[in-house]
Symmetry: C2
């Protein structure tokens, strides 16, 4: 394909740019914008490259994290990555995932990948248990059509979008003042916009707007509304429609999104009963961009590209705060059993036993002392959150047993040496805190 | 503690230095040296900080990896990280792990952590199945004593070490020529060294040297040999002594190691029967350094610090090559089942079913087409390595069943809708290739 080498070089350079911005700790918006450009370029490499990509925005570095914080990070990543894998994503870079679209006939049918993307977003946010959330969706084409019928000049489109997007933080009065006072929009045009962009709801709002006398005259808006209707149908089949809000004030990232756009926000409880929950900031966002890339497809096919970013750093803080508020102890190791000795001169026996456990895949530790005091060994378990102790004593050795002690309940039972591995596995596979 | 702020600042700066070197793609030896300095500094922050640390040398970046390579990387990391966790390691940085040393009484007993470190190294290399390997061990104190009794001037210690270390790649003649011809060592001194450093063996070699008339006069050498003897005892209890070779020519990293040093090498089969296997380069290395840091401990305790580096980039290449040689297909996704339709107009049913599977934690996909051909869906599974297909058809819907097909055996069976999740879980928990 002519120009492919140049495209690949452009992709490579854009990739460098993204990495450079990350290292320089550029703003997340700037990074997101450049990542979107990167993906657009990659998509131009050809239909096989036009897959659905998911980018995780990861923290810039990890050196300021304590072991506790690292453990929280790991749990969060496990949830996110597990969800992508459940949906068949490949890891193509760290931390970029890709859902395959290797449909052998070539075309894809609209809105199915978008619906899956939103399903993934909802699964992740539910699993993380960071509280109630809402996913706002809108569509670039609806906004375009909307602004057109309201009389917004083409040249002011982007700047008016940016004002409208502030409705999640500012009142309509303030937004209108900005549009009219600072950006030179005619007040009656602003009023017309206001009639629309303060609305949000479910599929019934989509259907209502499909009947809107002015909006339904606009081809773009109709297209966007039609797709949103289809999207809601699929989201209902996916069981997540109750989390989705069609929100006409969502106007972010419109430099690169060409279709559906979405943003997930956490809800804090309303200040007073009866008030609607307020968003406290986004934790994930994304959208579709594929209009441009079709140009480079020899068969003129549309190459799908759906982006999803998850604000993991934000999520880490929230999860951490929640755990602190619940006073929940975060374990920094996964050790299941400490191998301990009750008397002196039993180091060799401890070494043999701990080695047996490791070889059986059990997560075990021992203290690095020849003759540790039993009390110290038990205290170590309490501090580290280790649930079980396997205690070796001279009598137990003669009897061919090991004393297995539950750290929380303090109950001890003699287990035959040959049954120990099974018993430990059985007890550690139960719900936590019941070892 | 006086000077702590300065120490913390030094630690921070050294950490920056390490990161800078990584970004500049400095040589692994240079990085390892600076990491060792970093760990020494960190250990000086106090006894609680003097834990056993393990550093994974990770590749500089991932952008040149295909999905297949990323999948290989992930498998390798899973093995390594799983092993550390089995031994109670905390993640303190990426990719640095730390084994806790919260011996509450304060002191640790020698060689136990070193033995565990070597056990970890052996477990990792065995699990990775990259072929036979050998772990060479030596001790700084033995080399010091050895060179002293052979008559090496103190000033030439480091440079002679570096020559001796080349014995894994060069013959003794060549090494001797370098020591005498280039480094000005007296030939008779070189000959004395040669009598020792060409030796390698098990604990019997340790015992033999403990009886050596000259070496046993040297206090340092005796200390080192005594510790190695203890180390071999523990390694025997850990079941890995057969992988360990006491090799007097191992003389790497002596700028910072103060005690035991080790290096794991892969063995390739000998060129001719009866020859010893030749090392083909190291895949892991480490050692103990703690003499210096004791100075900063208010109670004058020795603060343990054992370093272990695993050459993951090297290991990735080896695993990849092995898989290619075995012509083993590396799956790039973990998808367990494709939800397919046998006739047209069944998209909604597919969406419902795939959503049920996702909600039950099953890894599932569907094609993004409204009416995909069954053949295309089956072909997709074959290419992606997906083992099962859940086929929806009009008759099956009426009968309340789903046709579950094994992609490899091509056998199909009707499964009741309410039993489908269990059946998929049962079949995917069996050894691979028997779905």
């Amino acid at each position: 394909m002519a120009g492919r080498e140049t495209l690949e070089e452009l992709v490579r350079l854009q990739g460098e740019r993204v990495r450079g911005l990350k290292q320089q700790k550029a703003s997340t918006e700037q990074i997101e914008e450049e990542v979107a450009k990167l993906l657009k370029l990659k998509a131009q490499l050809g239909p096989d490259e036009g897959k659905h990509k998911f980018v995780l925005k990861t923290p810039k570095g990890t050196r300021d994290y304590s072991p506790r914080q690292m453990a929280v990070r790991e749990k969060v990543f496990d949830v996110i990555i597990g969800c992508f894998k459940r949906h068949g994503a490949e890891v193509i870079d760290t931390p970029v995932f890709e859902l395959k679209d290797f449909d052998i006939a070539g075309q894809f049918d609209p809105m199915i990948p978008d619906a899956e993307c939103l399903k993934i977003m909802c699964e992740i946010l539910s699993s993380l248990q960071i509280g109630d959330f809402l996913v706002k969706v809108n569509d670039r084409r609806i906004l375009d059509g909307l602004f057109a019928i309201c009389g917004v000049p083409d040249t002011k489109f982007r700047t008016i979008c940016s004002s409208v997007d502030k409705l999640d933080k500012m009142s309509w009065e303030e937004v209108k003042n900005e549009m009219v006072g600072e950006k030179g929009l005619a007040p009656e045009v602003a009023d017309r916009i206001g009639d629309y962009v303060q609305q949000h709801g479910g599929v019934s709002l989509v259907e209502q707007l499909l009947q809107d006398p002015k909006l339904s005259q606009n081809k773009q808006a109709l297209e966007g509304l039609g797709d949103l209707k289809l999207l809601f149908e699929y989201l209902t089949l996916f069981g997540v429609a109750d989390k989705i809000s069609f929100d006409l004030s969502l106007a972010r990232g419109l430099d690169y999104y060409t279709g559906v756009i979405y943003e997930a926000v956490l809800l804090q409880p309303p200040a007073q009963a009866g008030e609607e929950p307020l968003g406290v900031g986004s934790v994930a966002a994304g959208g579709r961009y594929d209009g441009l890339v079709g140009m480079f497809d020899p068969k003129g096919r549309k190459v799908p590209c759906v982006g999803l970013s998850i604000g993991v750093e934000r999520i880490f803080s929230i999860v951490e705060q929640r755990l602190e508020a619940l006073e929940e102890k975060v374990r920094t190791t996964e050790t299941q059993v400490l191998v301990a000795s009750a008397q002196k001169k039993l180091l060799e026996e401890r070494l043999k036993l701990v080695s047996e456990l490791w070889d059986a895949g059990i997560k075990a530790e021992l203290l690095y002392k020849k003759n540790p005091k039993l009390l110290n060994q038990l205290q170590y378990c309490e501090e580290a959150g280790i649930p079980l102790v396997a205690i070796i004593g001279e009598q137990e050795l003669k009897d061919g047993v090991v004393k297995l002690r539950s750290v929380t309940s303090r109950e001890e039972v003699d287990v035959r040496r040959e049954d120990l591995v099974e018993e430990i596995k059985r007890r550690t596979s139960q719900p936590s805190c019941t070892c």
